[in-house]
């Protein structure tokens, strides 16, 4: 068993239990999506026009839920000390943590997203694209969110700070993902949004582990 898979299994079991787990995350997402028709009215034309956009805002908010525990628990328990004296560099450890966070939180959301969007009036044909963009966008959410969570380690009110750091950085994927779905539904060229979304997610995977590792080192010293 490689150190990567040893660590991934631990992180996944922690992520699965963190913040109430995937059920709570999906439940929160569903609540956000349900509130919209209650507030703007259920007129079918009005709702279906914004279904994709609302779904993305819900995804971004729901992906914030369990972030505050991503590094904080391990930092306070001393587990970050332990993993730091193991075979993998801290950058890789942080990336593995975010990958587990994606699988436990963002992947279930990606499955729930088409259901919510169609419930709000999106066309059934968009379901595949919604799930795909939510899965790719979730990668960006997990990694950028991880960077925010690591940066907040040294502060007292970490949870609030994470939301403030992370939400602006989650705006581009929300724009790209929402645009891809809206254009697809309207029969317009939609691949640009998907490409930009994927590029943003890949950039997050490539860059944020260095930020996370730096922030963790700073917190540990």
């Amino acid at each position: 068993m490689t150190p990567h898979s040893t660590l991934f299994r631990r992180e996944l079991s922690l992520a699965w239990a963190r913040g109430g787990g995937p059920l709570l995350t999906v439940g929160f997402f569903a609540s956000v999506c349900l509130m919209v028709p209650l507030s703007i009215g259920a007129a079918p034309g009005r709702l279906s026009a914004v279904a994709g956009g609302i779904t993305w805002v819900g995804l971004a908010l729901a992906s914030l839920l369990s972030l505050d525990r991503l590094f904080e628990r391990d930092f306070e328990s001393g587990a970050l000390d332990l993993v730091n004296l193991g075979p993998l560099p801290l950058e890789t450890i942080c990336a593995v943590k975010c990958a587990a966070q994606w699988l436990a939180s963002c992947a279930p959301l990606a499955l729930a997203a088409p259901v919510a969007a169609i419930g709000l009036g999106a066309k059934v044909e968009t379901a595949g694209l919604i799930a795909l963009t939510a899965a790719i966008g979730g990668v960006a959410f997990a990694f950028v969110g991880g960077a925010g969570a690591a940066l907040a380690l040294v502060s007292r009110r970490g949870g609030v700070l994470i939301a403030l750091i992370v939400l602006p950085l989650l705006t581009p994927p929300v724009i790209f993902g929402g645009a891809a779905i809206a254009n697809f539904a309207a029969g317009l060229p939609w691949t640009t949004g998907l490409i930009l979304l994927t590029a943003y997610a890949l950039a997050a995977v490539a860059l944020t582990p260095f930020a996370m590792a730096g922030a963790c080192r700073n917190a540990l010293s």
Binding site: M1, S13, L14, E76, G78, D81, N84, G86, P87
Partner: protein, 206 residues
């Protein structure tokens, strides 16, 4: 990589906030030797151990790891040869003792069988399937000590290792430390109570 033969702490000064700690502390520890770091609360014992583990960089002075053929790569030595037992035990309270043990032992270079054998030696076999949150402080410490015997590493950095242990466990841990030293290991321990083995004392002042 050749095995660690000697840890050298040369004129190390650390800083916490605006305060300087240790004031140019020097000592070394060779294979088979235990060093007991003593000093008042806040003198910098924990900071020293964390500096040796590479978490804090000294503001001046050097921490070097030496093998038979000269200086070893510090990062690699820390990753492969160094166990740290600190105040925070690093256990996730929601996972079972077995899960946490097997992870920690695998992560530091041992395997699952060694982890379970080690748990047996420390009298933890009945606790293996309990969540960590149900354990007492002493039991949790014993879970951490399993790592030391199940994943062989030369350098043990121990921060108050005896504090939560009962008399039997202390004696048992003394035997484990003696065996480690006999096998060429190095122990640096921050202590208030004397260690149950013979150790050279290095006193630091705040």
């Amino acid at each position: 990589m050749t095995a660690l033969e000697r840890l050298e702490v040369a004129a190390v000064t650390l800083q916490r906030g605006a305060r300087a700690l240790l004031g140019g502390l020097s000592f070394d520890a060779v294979a088979g030797e235990a060093v007991a770091i003593t000093g008042a609360n806040g003198a910098g014992k924990t900071s020293l151990l964390r500096a040796i583990a590479g978490f804090t960089r000294p503001v001046s002075g050097q921490i070097r790891f030496l093998g038979a053929d000269g200086e070893l790569d510090a990062d690699a030595t820390r990753r492969e040869e160094c166990h740290l037992v600190g105040h925070a035990d690093g256990l996730a309270v929601g996972r079972t003792v077995r899960e946490e043990l097997v992870f920690a032992v695998r992560w530091t270079g041992g395997d699952a069988t060694a982890a379970i054998d080690g748990a047996r030696r420390l009298g933890l076999e009945r606790l293996l399937d309990l969540p960590v949150r149900h354990l007492s402080a002493g039991q949790r410490r014993r879970v951490v000590l399993v790592r030391l015997i199940a994943a062989p590493r030369r350098l043990w950095l121990l921060d108050e290792p005896l504090t939560p242990l009962d008399a039997d466990s202390r004696a048992h841990f003394g035997e484990i430390m003696s065996a480690h030293l006999a096998g060429g290991g190095v122990i640096v321990a921050a202590v208030h109570d004397p260690l149950p083995i013979s150790a050279r004392t290095v006193a630091i002042s705040g």
